[in-house]
């Protein structure tokens, strides 16, 4: 039976200069997944509930909401949230596939990381054009 090693771990070399680190494309997709998730939780979720509440309250509040969301600034914020949702959605599906060992080798994982960024940006562009 081996004796468990209880000595404190050796200090590891740290290189966390965020400006100097060159993040691989899958890493960029990954950090966007985290950032978009945080944005959705902190800002989009309460605003979504407010929106759904106002949209269902009465025909007048539905119309007022529609008018408010037509403001260019509101459209900009909406497009930001649409991107956050789409990126989180696409990157999440990529993780589900990787968990199922679909495309979990380095090269396909890099390609799918780039694809997630590109597809969610393209879909955001389509949604943005339709919104405007």
């Amino acid at each position: 039976m081996s004796v468990p090693d209880n000595s404190p771990p050796k200090p590891r070399p740290m290189y966390l200069n965020l400006v100097a680190i060159r993040l691989p494309i899958a890493g960029i997709a990954s950090i966007f997944h985290r950032v978009s998730g945080a944005v959705l939780f902190l800002f989009a979720l309460p605003l979504l509930l407010l929106t759904v509440q106002a949209s269902l309250a009465s025909p007048e509040s539905f119309a007022a909401l529609k008018a408010a969301l037509a403001h260019p600034l509101a459209k900009l914020v909406t497009i930001g949230f649409v991107w956050a949702y789409l990126h989180h959605f696409c990157a999440g599906i990529r993780y589900l596939l990787i968990d199922l060992h679909v495309g979990d080798d380095l090269a396909p994982a890099q390609r799918s990381g780039a694809a997630v960024i590109a597809v969610s940006l393209a879909l955001t562009l389509i949604a943005g054009v339709r919104l405007w």
Binding site: R34, G37, A38, L40, F41, L45, P46, L49, V52, Q53, S55, L56, P59, F62, A63, Y85, F89, G92, I93, Y95, L96, D99
Partner: protein, 118 residues
Amino acid sequence: MTRTLRQAVGAHYGWRDWLAQRVTAVVMAAYTVVVLGIALWNGGIDYALWKALFASGVWKVATFVFMLALAWHAWIGVRDIWMDYIKPVGVRLTLEVLSILALAAYIGWTIQILWGGK
């Protein structure tokens, strides 16, 4: 010699959380596709259609399940973020409690929206 203390705010159920985050993701993705499908099928959503949709009991329950899935999913996600970046245990615990309270409030709010109407 010091003994490692049990962490107060660590992830004790990594496997269960990992699975829950994925199952809830699939639930939310399915709901999203259905909402988009309804909007595209009808060429947009006006008040009458929207109101009729949310008058359906099945839709209310589906929406509530979506919100529960979202809350569970978001809890695992934000907890991971607090664990990665917030090292002081007191601050981290406070943020975790605030996150739980916010999500609980959002669930209550959802019930109000779905079943609180006249």
